[in-house]
Structure formats: C-alpha cells, structure tokens
C-alpha cells in the first residue's frame, strides 16, 4: 500500500485545522483528503496557507490558477470558467482559495483532495494540484486548482525555496462547523 495515513484532523466549531507536524522529507507527495467540511456561515471559501516553521505568519508567495464548473438544480445554469477572484499572483501572500463559496445548510458540504509535491525540497518551488466538489444554494460546483509556492518574494527563480513544514486550512471568514481532514504520504 503506498498511501500511508499520517494524521487525522477533525473540525468542531474550529477556527482552523492546522497540521504542524509530519510534513517532512519522508514523502515526495502529501495528500490532504477533505471529508464533508461544513462552514458555520453560509457562502464562504475553503482556503489554505503554508509556512516554513520559522515563519508562522501563513503568508507564503503563491502563483496559482483557478477554474470552476457548475450545474444548478433544475438545469437552470451550467457552465465552467476560469475564476480570477480565486487565483493569486506572487505578491498577494494571501490564503489560497481551494473552492468558491460553500453552503452551510444541513445537506451542504465540501469534499476533495489537495496534493502537495515535495514540500521538503529546497531546490524548487512547491507545486500543488487540487480538486474539490462543493454545494451551495442548489449549485453543485467542481473546483480545479494548481499553484506553485515560494517562500520568499519572486526574483526570477532565487531565494524562494525553503522547506515547507506546516499547513493550515480554514474557511474564509468563519469557523469550521464540522468535517475531517486526513493527511496521507504517498510513496
């Protein structure tokens, strides 16, 4: 078996779920599986940031892409588009949106997977790919993301590659009512 469970993190009216240990050079790929995460408030984005352990400000430098597809109940609306509001340029240093808005009704939640590649590398920027599905206001949405993470401001490929050792997940502006994150190492 090549997918090894490292830790489980359960939200219960939590401000954030932080993984502060276990991200090392033991694996070249870490997968974070999201199971039915629900926000306390309606209509908020699911986000993450990382840090190096010495910088605990959760403000690394990310260049990312974002694409959403959707379908509304009753076939009222269906389409897909790039989403400028969910991608980042290097200077933003903000939390990275893995979804668009997620609903808080009893039957609404998000699930998905984030793959973070070689976080312990000190040679390269860190690549990630994610895919999440979520529901809000009768919309089923499919969120595709990718990005590359630097640990200092971009300067044409230098000084950006300290090891990443920690990751923090949260909803944009409210607590996590419930849900589970499992971190796996892939080998």
């Amino acid at each position: 078996m090549t997918l090894s469970l490292i830790s489980t993190h359960t939200g219960s009216n939590s401000a954030a779920l932080e993984v502060l240990t276990g991200i090392t050079n033991a694996y070249d790929e870490y997968q974070f599986h999201f199971y039915n995460l629900v926000p306390v408030n309606d209509g908020v984005d699911w986000q993450f940031q990382v840090d190096t352990g010495t910088n605990a400000n959760w403000n690394m430098y990310v260049t990312s892409t974002a694409h959403n597809a959707w379908h509304k109940e009753g076939n009222v609306s269906d389409d897909s588009e790039q989403n400028d509001t969910d991608d980042q340029q290097n200077a933003d240093q903000a939390y990275i949106n893995l979804t668009g808005t997620v609903g808080s009704d009893s039957y609404e939640a998000l699930s998905g997977v984030l793959a973070l590649y070689a976080p312990a590398s000190t040679a390269f920027l860190k690549q990630y790919i994610s895919r999440c599905v979520a529901r809000e206001e009768d919309y089923a949405r499919d969120h595709h993301r990718s990005g590359m993470i630097g640990t200092a401001a971009s300067s044409a490929g230098s000084g950006e590659t300290s090891a990443i050792t920690r990751i923090r997940f949260r909803f944009e502006s409210c607590n996590i009512e419930s849900g589970v994150i499992k971190m796996f190492g892939v080998k």
Binding site: M1, T2, L3, D28, E29, T63, S64, T65, H67, S80, E81, Q82, D84, D87, Q88, Q89, N90, A91, D92, Y117, A118, S121, A123, F124, L125, Q127, Y128, I129, H144, R145, S146, G147, M148, G150, S154, A156, G157, S158, E160, T161, V186, K187
Partner: protein
Amino acid sequence: MPDIDKINNVAVADISKLDSITFADGQKVNNQDVSLVTDARVLIEAQTFTNESTVSFDSLGGTSYMAHLFQFINIHSDNNDVQFRFASNVSDDHQWANFVEIKHNETGTDDTSWAYDGSHDTLLNASTKEANLAAGLGSVATESLSGYLYIYGLNNTPLQHGKNWYSRTSHHSEDDYNVFTINQGIIVHDGSNANDAISQIDFTMSGGTFDGTIRCFGMALA
C-alpha cells in the same frame, strides 16, 4: 489456530507494516482478522535521475494491472521552453490526444482560462509517437513540474481496446506562469483498433536532458 511467530522468516513483533498482501494471501494475521486491500497501488519502479535524455520504464509487460500510475516529482528541464512528453515502445503506436491548459503569471498581469492548444494536440493517424504532457517548461534552477499520468490496460488485461490515458500536471513555465495542464488521449496502434500489449513507456523532453523523480505504480486487480 495457533498464533503465527514469523512471516516470511521475519518475527511478527518486528513487522511494522504489511505491503503487497492480496486477498488471496489470507484473511488472518497472527490470528487477528485483517482487512486486506484488493485494489492497492503497488510500487513497480522508482527512478531518480539527472541529465537524462530518456527515462524508460521497460518492465511493464506481463502483468495484470488494470492501470499504471506515473507520479512526477520536480521534473526539471535542462533546456528552456521545451515540452515534457511520453510514448510507448511499440513501433506502430501513435497518439491521439487533447491538450488543455490554464495559466496565471507571477505578477498577476495575465491569466487564461482552460483552452485547447492545437499546437500540442495530436491527431488520429498523425503517426506522432509522443504526446505532450506539458508545454513551455522553464529551466531556471527553481522551476519544475509535478503531477501524474494514468494509463489503462497496457497489457490488454482486462481492457483490450485502446490504451486510454489522462494526466494532470502543475509546472513553472519558462515565462514565469503557473500552468495547470489537463491532457487525455488514446495510444492508437497502427491507426486502427488493433492493439499490441505495451511493455515500455518512455519519458523525454522535446529537446535536451532533464532531472527529477518518476515512480510507476500498478493498480492491482481485485
């Protein structure tokens, strides 16, 4: 039933994990019920390399895996603005693929939605051996690509028609974009529905050498 002292001549107390056990191997270990995974991913081969022009996985034949998963870790091109690509070793095979990418540059001055890129598509009967998995890779020291490729039915077992594949990669382009590439296609044999089993997959850049790690996993049948 007595407890088991050793498995494969290793003391049970010394075993911290069990790999590659299939359902056929048994249902109890040390007289304890175990849940045996029947669709596990099995590591077939891992290659970490530098300055290679071709990275070959040449022992893929004769297995019954339903699919093969190739994991790409920090693939770094030694030449600027090149394509990362793959092909089979069967001489009459060629590729029929759709190449789609979305990208955003570091300074936030440009981004594009998913778009087919006809220059990297490969057409049926074009006799193109290689399919591009990503385009425009950068060669600056910190620039790389990571992601994965699934290929189904390489050995015609149990899938005997066409080798479907799809890939997802994220990379740092030569002009400082993050590029998310979704690609999917079929390895077509001799432009027809005839299919030979494939025993080797080769990865190359469109020019020059490259570095990184590629792992090949087999997706086991139940």
